[in-house]
Amino acid sequence: MKTAIVTAEKRVEHITTEVPIMNISNLNVYSKSAHILKNINITIPKNKITVLLGPSGCGKTTLLKCMNRLTDLYSELRLDGTIEIDGQNILTERNRITEIRQKMGLVMQRPYPLPMSIYDNIAYGLKLKGVRDKNVIAEKVEKHLREVALWDEVKDRLKSSAQRLSIGQQQRLCLARGLAVEPEIILADEPTSALDPISSRVIEEQFSKLKDDYTIIMVTHILRQAKRLADYVVFMYYGEIIEHGNAADIFENPQTDILKEYMRVGH
């Protein structure tokens, strides 16, 4: 009896861990002179931390920008292939781009606080989503600032300019701002690369906590960070996916020479 229950539970857990949230197939990105992403095919699992790993210039940022159509801002880029979220190909979508972007919160390599107060940085996205009730906004501002461990540091100066915070605080604010629009997915592009080790650790801890409620796709070129955080790893090299799979498999048993070499020289 007992064993039967255990296996049943295990199976349930196994199924829920494999729920895909995003499906990328045959994605190619070209600039005028280069083939930046080459035939990308991956499935991103829900409520996991997927880490895009690879050396600088291999196309990690570009892949991330495809996912919320920020590539639209670059006239020189041309895309083909599909990215499906909830069964909808976002690359061909014409009218609901703002809604698609609101499904995702973006944390960038460097924080870019909006030119307004700390409070308004978080309220901004809420208002775009149509939240009008002042009490609701105030509640959510506090909730999300607490979520990124920033509330205690800024609660007395919510009305002062966000651009005067330290860079580590700004990065946490940008994470909170992204969380406030209640996305399903968090896109993070080397979120700790501009930060000191302590702020980096704070951000990493937030990510580990957040994966219960969100799907996280994080770019890094730091091997150790990938090992600390990843459930699922996508290793890229010169615009191609070389290997992908569960973090344990990838790190304990790399298949290709490129990844073995990256793990040998990486840190």
């Binding site: 006239s75 973006l106 960038m108 909006l114 989503k129 940008c174």
Partner: protein, 278 residues
């Protein structure tokens, strides 16, 4: 370094130093002569009264008409130019960013407009005025000066907007902003200190220009009360008084020049300070 390169280096170092000193000396000389000639004529009466009968032949009164006229005209033109320039500058930086060639063309066109002599704008304004059957007026002057300073304001705002980091734009879009929201809620705020500089720059150009208002704003001894009244301006007031053979009147022209220089100076310094604060 070879001897040749050393010589070259010191030659250009001294050349640029000498030229800089020369320019500064000329500037000091201009300011000095204006003050030397005008200071004696500068009085409370000159600043606060309209010209009385026979003013240009040495009669009493002052240049109040021109001071107020110039301020009305420059403020009106700056406001109008701002209303035109803001959407244009935002539009080219948000919507046209995907069309780099068009963008280069537009910027080139605006730079050419910037270089067009103001008398051409004056003549254009005059033709328009005649065509519409209107007479010289504050309103016509405002429209002409606005046309003159809009390219300056647009390009100055454009330069400010170009310095906004791409990352901020991406942040705005990723939160679900539309293009219009990004323009007016994010870009506008981020650029505000720089815009203040752009506005003051255009104001300074507008208030000092004589040729564009020569045929369009007219001239009067009275402070204009409505847009359809003619308006006096400081540059024209200086011009008319300098044309007088009487020395006392000429000195009053220099007093008007002091006032104009002072206004432009204040504007420039404020613009500098705002720019540096950013």
């Amino acid at each position: 370094m070879t001897l040749n390169r050393k010589l070259e280096e010191s030659f250009f170092k001294y050349l640029s130093a000498i030229v800089s000193v020369l320019i500064i000396l000329v500037l000091i000389h201009i300011v000095y002569s204006i003050i030397a000639k005008g200071a004696s004529a500068l009085s409370w009466e000159v600043l606060t009264q309209e010209p009385k009968g026979g003013f240009y032949m040495g009669g009493g009164g002052g240049i109040f008409n021109a001071i107020v006229g110039s301020l009305y005209l420059a403020i009106g033109a700056t406001v109008l130019a701002f209303i035109i320039s803001l959407p244009v500058a935002l539009f080219i930086n948000i919507y046209l960013i995907k069309y780099p060639r068009t963008l280069i063309g537009i910027r080139f066109f605006l730079d050419v407009l910037w270089g067009v002599p103001s008398i051409v704008f004056g003549a254009f304004g005059f033709i328009l005025l005649m065509y519409m059957g209107m007479r010289n007026s504050l309103g016509a002057g405002i429209v002409t000066v606005a046309a003159l300073i809009s390219p300056i304001m647009i390009r100055a705002m454009d330069e400010v907007l170009m310095t906004i980091p791409k990352g901020l734009q991406e942040a705005a879009y990723s939160l679900g902003s539309t293009k219009t929201e990004t323009a007016f809620k994010i870009f506008f705020r981020q650029a505000l200190p720089g815009f203040a500089t752009a506005i003051l720059l255009a104001f300074g150009r507008g208030i000092g220009d004589a040729a564009s208002v020569l045929f369009t704003a007219g001239y009067t001894d009275h402070v204009p009360e409505k847009l359809s009244d003619p308006a006096a301006t400081l540059p024209l007031s200086i011009f008319f008084q300098l044309s007088s053979p009487i020395e006392e009147v000429q000195n009053r022209a220099f007093a008007a020049a002091i006032v104009l220089t002072f206004i432009v100076l204040i504007i420039s310094i404020t613009a500098r300070l705002l720019y540096r604060k950013k």
